[in-house]
Amino acid sequence: MLQYSIKRIVMAIPVVIFISFIVFYIIQLPPGDYVSSYSAQMTAAGEIMTQDDMDQMRANLGLDRPVYEQYAIWIKKIVFEGDFGYSFNYNKPVIDVVKQYMGLTLVVSIVTMLFQYLVAIPIGIYTAVKQYSAGDYFFSGLSFLGMATPNFLLAIILMYFSYTWFGDPLLGLFSDEYVNAAWSWDKVVDLLKHLVIPVIVIGLASTADLIRVMRGQMLDELNKPNVVTARSKGLSETKILFKYPTRAALNPIVSTFGWSLSSIFTGSTITAIVLNLPIQGPVMYKALLGQDMYLAGSWLLFMALLTVLGTLISDILLAWLDPKIRTEFRGN
């Protein structure tokens, strides 16, 4: 097992290196650079920057060097100094910006993930066991609808309802009075209240997807001969359901675990922009548009790493859950 995990990790390394290169290339793509967008801002504010000023600024920021050199410097600093560069927009090191938003991003992502598994698995089991019942049609219809609705628009609709019913669109993650307050019980409650809409919105599509996968898996498993065997042994239906089909159907679901976290991380971007959540999505969006290249690049790199890591976790989980693969390693 350990051997397998190590092998998978080693295989992921060249992928990561390549990704970092592509990431840097992509953030170079937009025409102009930070200095030109900065000077445009200054011009709009009434201050005109001369060409000399701009060149000076470029030299200060290291933007006058060739792309590959900039890349080499960036990577070198990341690897050896843990320095991801400087965010021009925020006027502080990228790592500080990341730290500032990481906590809440993790909270939103993890709660969403829990929500999605806790909702999808029971519904998946229910709809499979009661195939073609009214409940099955209801949930299947709902999950089709969930997959077909762009989640950022669902956010708007939910906001509209909370606005008309509670008089508060529940924008952001905290009410005004708690934004800068120290952590307290009330602040947690306030956070939870504000989490409802984002979690539903971000999690809906993947929950819908998961329900369908779980239902399909369950239907497959329910028709397997080992269920008939279990029945012929005199087991009760409940025991059979949970010990045999459910356990087997959970395998592929649980293995999506790693992959799912990273997809929630990236999938929340648009919703976060619409709902104005203080998490990574909007930060990244502004960085991309404002050519804040080290911040944007670091986020992109981070997302890609997370995806690689998620796939890795999923692969290892899958191997570990399958007795066939597990015993092979035990034998060695």
């Binding site: 065997t229 012929s232 042994k233 005199g234 087991l235 239906e237 087997a248």
Partner: protein, 354 residues
């Protein structure tokens, strides 16, 4: 009427049958109509005896065998009477109708695995790949015999030994995929017999195994039958196995039992054209090499919205037009223990034909 003296090797004692199936019907709703998968099946099994249920795939033999302990999927609409004699328990009650029990209820569950055990065709898929063999065996023992984990394990190990699996301690903790096909079927038998059932239903127990292993498994079943004195319902399409194992035979075709007799009668004095066809298609030792084996032409139709007629009509060499395809065939008694469903032997038909 030609009376045949029944030459059955072991004539059954006159006691009450262990299991008696009467007019069993199974209907399945399909997309394009109702399929009459099992259509009025009757048979009896006596204590300690073996009944063979033989037929092509799709004739309803598996459904019939599973209906006994009520483990068919809920799409199967089952009617009829399945009487099972619980008197051996000491309680002098009448036989109970298994079909009248709630298929999910406690009563039938206390019979499944305990009084009537079952083994299946594909030991690979019949065991769950997620749990060890030991886990799946102990689970059943703990329902019916003992709550004690250690004791249950001891019983399981002992059973594994009885079916000829060595190194039981290690095998107990292995997963099904670590067993060979024959070993898996042995484990399946060990599990089925671990609660000393009175009736063992074996649904094509050797079909998935290769021939040498087949013989071993059959031998094992026979010796265990002698040891435990249980009755066996053997479902198969292999007449060779029937000849070796059974006391009585019921030949099934398209949801009906077309001929039923003691095993020697079936082999030496077959009546129904289908039975004859089956026997002709069987290779024999010492037969002429150059002689081609006979086969039954055509394939089994789907019994969906079937008009009253003989299901074998299309493929029958002795069919009588206007009779066989015009009404359903009644059962005709040839002798005490030999019955057949064919117009060639029905009195009414004979009267008309002469």
């Amino acid at each position: 009427m030609t009376t045949q003296t029944a030459q059955a090797a072991c004539k059954a004692d006159d006691g009450q049958p262990l299991l008696s199936v009467q007019d069993l019907k199974i209907r399945i709703q399909m997309d394009n109509g109702v399929m009459q998968a099992v259509d009025g099946v009757d048979f009896e099994i006596k204590k300690g005896k073996t009944l063979g249920l033989v037929g092509e795939s799709g004739c309803g033999k598996s459904l019939t065998s599973r209906a006994i302990i009520g483990i068919n999927p809920k799409e199967c609409e089952t009617t009829g009477v399945i009487k099972y004699d619980l008197a051996s328990e000491g309680s002098a009650s009448d036989p109970i109708d298994l079909l009248s029990l709630d298929p999910k209820g406690k009563r039938i569950r206390s019979i499944r695995g305990n009084k009537i055990a079952m083994i299946f065709q594909e030991p690979m898929t019949a065991f769950s790949p997620m749990y060890t063999i030991g886990n799946q065996m102990v689970e059943m023992i703990r329902i019916h015999r003992t709550k004690n984990k250690k004791e249950a394990k001891k019983i399981a190990l002992e059973m594994l030994g009885k079916v000829g699996i060595s190194d039981q301690e290690k095998r107990f903790d292995q997963y099904p995929h670590e067993f060979s096909g024959g070993m898996r079927q042995r484990a399946m038998i060990a599990m089925a017999l671990s609660c000393n059932p009175e009736l063992l239903i074996a649904d094509e127990p050797t079909t998935a195994l290769d021939v040498t292993i087949q013989a071993q498994v059959l031998e094992l079943m026979q010796s265990l039958q002698r040891e435990f004195g249980m009755a066996i319902l053997l479902v198969t399409h292999d007449l060779g196995i029937i000849a070796e194992m059974c006391d009585e035979v019921a030949v099934m075709y398209l949801g009906k039992i077309v001929e039923q007799a003691p095993v020697r009668e079936i082999f030496y004095n077959p009546k129904h054209p289908y039975t004859k066809g089956l026997l002709k298609s069987m290779p024999r030792l010492g037969g002429e090499k150059s002689v081609r084996l006979d086969s039954i032409e055509g394939s089994v139709p789907m019994p969906i919205d079937m008009p009253p007629m003989c299901g074998f009509y299309e493929r029958c060499t002795d069919r009588i037009e206007g009779v066989c395809n015009a009404r359903s065939v009644p059962k005709t008694r040839i002798s005490d223990d030999h019955s057949v469903r064919c117009f060639l032997y029905s009195d009414q038909q004979r009267g008309e034909a002469q």
